[in-house]
Amino acid sequence: MGQSYDRRRIAVLVVEDEPLLLMDAMDMVEDAGFTVYGAGNADEAIRLMEKHHDICVLFTDVDMPGSMDGLKLAHAVRDRWPPVSIIIASGHVNVAHETLPENGLFFSKPYPPVSVVKALDGIAERIMQ
């Protein structure tokens, strides 16, 4: 499939309240060649969404403290920035499919990095077409 496009033009926002997991997920996205932003909670994520218009993908954990959990954040982003693709990860396997935003992807934690990167590639290709 080759990299006919510049992945750095695609920015991914990683939201995870666990600092170690956030760093590792950001490294994973960065290593795959994408631009990456990280947030430790939903409010910070919304602020980053407002500031950086190059964000094409939201990759968020579900269980987070604060005013909004990952699912609420995903729906809020879907409402305000409809083109942004959404990937959701959770340690709870029973996140019902109907609670995900439309076209949202779900990964159960701990997720295989290769699969997440593949999903990001798929999204990037769709955007670049």
Binding site: L20, D24, N41, H92, K109, P110
Partner: protein, 351 residues
């Protein structure tokens, strides 16, 4: 219809347990019966001396109970004998009078007996019903308790499963970070394994509280135990503080990195080197932690930032929504972390 019948019995209960009303009814029934008997005396054919007395006795026995019923029956019997059994106006006693009185005694006796039996039966039924009601309520309560217990157990299981997955995700991050920062897979595997062991020891410090929190001192002592040769190389001092599970794991990883580093290059490399570990909680929700090496070889600032220093300088402070500072001094390394003990609570506090 059932309600009406039950009302009658309730009424009878109320009367039976109030002596004034009970005896009042007995007297009134007797008086009414005598009056009615006199009233209808001229229209009745001869041979009905007790006609109005039977209802009076039955009513009294039913409403007022056994004793007023019996007394009313006796009074009625005497009244009937005196006024309405010939020869009228006297207590004469011949065979026919005796037979008539005997019949009267039999009839009212059977009436009172049947009424008593009926009352007992109704009382019994009511007690039975109250008992079954109690049983049903008790059963409902037990069922509710069991459901509560099951629900709590399900919550706990979900919570444990969630914690387990989170820990596994941390292990995955530790492994991938160890590999990412070391080109030699053998070395990376060794580092990853040591870090996973540090996480495992931190889990031990958490077991006392269902894996929800750990005491800082227990956590610190468990974390440095593999590097402690028992010769007093560690000076550990701080107040008793409870640290939430994820922050405990984070701090344990930081201590592991610092201790490994001190063993390789710092205070624990020399015989005289000492590590002082201090912590406290200013204002109740603040958290300060310091790792101060002394008596070791002078440590130079490393050229390359590996996972260890990223962990101590950026990742672990983030668990406490704070910051950390590492200084490389002549006696060894000095690491200071400052943040909050329960950042989530400050998140929720109103602005």
């Amino acid at each position: 219809m059932t309600t009406l019948r039950l009302h009658l019995f309730t009424l009878s209960d109320r009367v039976r347990f109030s002596p004034v009303v009970a005896w009042g009814i007995a007297f009134a029934a007797f008086a009414c019966a005598v009056y009615a008997r006199f009233l209808f005396d001229h229209v009745l054919p001869p041979g009905f001396p007790y006609l109005t007395f039977f209802p009076a006795v039955i009513l009294t026995a039913f409403l007022a109970g056994l004793l007023p019923g019996a007394v009313c029956a006796l009074a009625c019997g005497i009244a009937a004998w005196y006024w309405f059994i010939p020869p009228f106006g006297s207590f004469s006693l011949d065979t026919s009078v005796l037979v008539a009185l005997a019949f009267y005694v039999c009839v009212v006796g059977v009436d009172i007996l049947l009424i008593q039996v009926m009352h007992r039966a109704v009382d019994g039924l009511r007690e039975e019903r109250a008992r079954s009601g109690d049983l049903v309520r008790e059963q409902r309560r037990l069922l509710g308790e069991q459901k509560d217990r099951e629900r709590q157990q399900r919550i706990l299981q979900r919570e444990l499963s969630h914690r387990m997955k989170n820990t596994l995700a941390m292990v995955q991050a530790v492994v991938s970070q160890s590999l990412r920062n070391n080109p030699d897979p053998k070395l990376a595997a060794g580092l990853a394994s040591a870090r996973i062991q540090a996480l495992a020891r931190a889990q031990d410090a958490l077991t006392a509280t269902d894996w929800s929190a750990a005491d800082v001192e227990t956590l610190v002592r468990t974390a440095v135990s593999p590097h402690d040769d028992g010769t007093g190389r560690f000076r550990i001092d701080g107040p008793s503080l409870s640290l939430e599970a994820q922050r405990s794991l984070g701090l344990a990883l930081a201590i592991h990195e610092l201790a490994t580093n001190a063993t390789k290059y710092g205070a624990l490399l020399t015989e005289a080197g000492i590590v002082t570990i201090l912590w406290d909680s200013p204002d109740g929700n603040g958290f300060r932690f310091s790792w101060i090496e002394s008596g070791g070889p002078g440590v130079a600032e490393p050229l390359r930032r590996g996972f260890g220093s990223r962990l101590t300088e950026r990742v672990v402070p983030a668990y406490f929504k704070g910051s950390a500072r590492t200084q490389y001094t002549r006696g060894g390394l000095k690491y200071e972390l400052e943040g909050t003990l329960r950042p989530d609570e400050t998140d929720l506090a109103p602005d």
